[in-house]
Subunit: 133 residues, 2 copies
DNA sequence: GTGTTTGCAAATCATTTGCAGCTTA
DNA sequence: TAAGCTGCAAATGATTTGCAAACAC
């Protein structure tokens, strides 16, 4: 069904080599750098297909808009630093999340869950402490 | 600064009487029912002002788009049932979230956090068990 | 060949804004 | 009166689609 085209391989390579969530515009820009002349609609349709195929997952960031990342990364959540913009990956245990807890306490059976954190990374926190000293 | 107008009061009343997160379109439709002829831009600007004033908060739902709800509700998260569409409110303890855990385990200092769950509510789970019996 | 994919332009859809007239304090 | 609203229409910006030509299998 899906054909192996240069554009498709280019997009897949991008996801594989880029650990950070990418916006559609990011992807388009990166593809454009590798293959000038590639249409936005082409990139859009490829990403949409990859998402439908489950190879890529979409994450929604409040202000920063929706982004996409390679689905083969282990399940995790994002902690975005409002100071330096870095993104840390956290797993369920890091945030304390447990679907069984939810089920036991509320009766709700969790199928999917998304946790997005915004705050200050340890590096920036250290810098702040220094400057205040 | 902000003036008390009929449109503004109408929107505020909507938020106060509607516990569910509302999309801009929802709000516009409801305001339109109460006050035919109200412009979408008017509703939009009122909601934007309420958000800026901290009276209303925005929540982002993957597919369903961004929504708004009355900010005076206690801090909570949403569990959307994929079967019946109902929305349950969960607090941090229900999902196990604790900012201190995050800080201790990762060094990340959480300022804001959003948790969105998708799954099956207890009611629908019960119905499913029945129909399979 | 036959069914997909691509580039281009144009349609959508949700948000936002400019502006002149109306309203609230 | 003066600063804020409002309605209307139009600008944005992000997605999404139609279509004929190009391409993969």
């Amino acid at each position: 069904m899906d054909r192996q085209t240069v554009s498709r391989e280019t997009v897949i390579r991008l996801f594989r080599t880029n650990a950070r969530p990418l916006s559609m515009a990011d992807i388009n820009r990166l593809v454009g750098a590798a293959r000038p002349g590639t249409a936005y609609s082409t990139v859009f349709r490829i990403v949409r297909k990859l998402e439908a195929a489950g190879l890529v997952v979409r994450v929604d960031w409040r202000e920063r808009g929706s982004r996409y990342e390679w689905a083969k990364l282990p399940h995790h959540h994002h902690a975005v630093c409002v100071v330096c913009g870095s993104v840390a990956d956290l797993d369920d245990a890091d945030v304390g999340f447990n679907p069984d807890t939810v089920l036991r306490r509320t009766g709700f059976s969790v199928r999917h869950h998304a946790i997005e954190l915004e705050g200050i990374c340890s590096g920036c926190a250290a810098s702040e402490r220094e400057s205040h000293a």
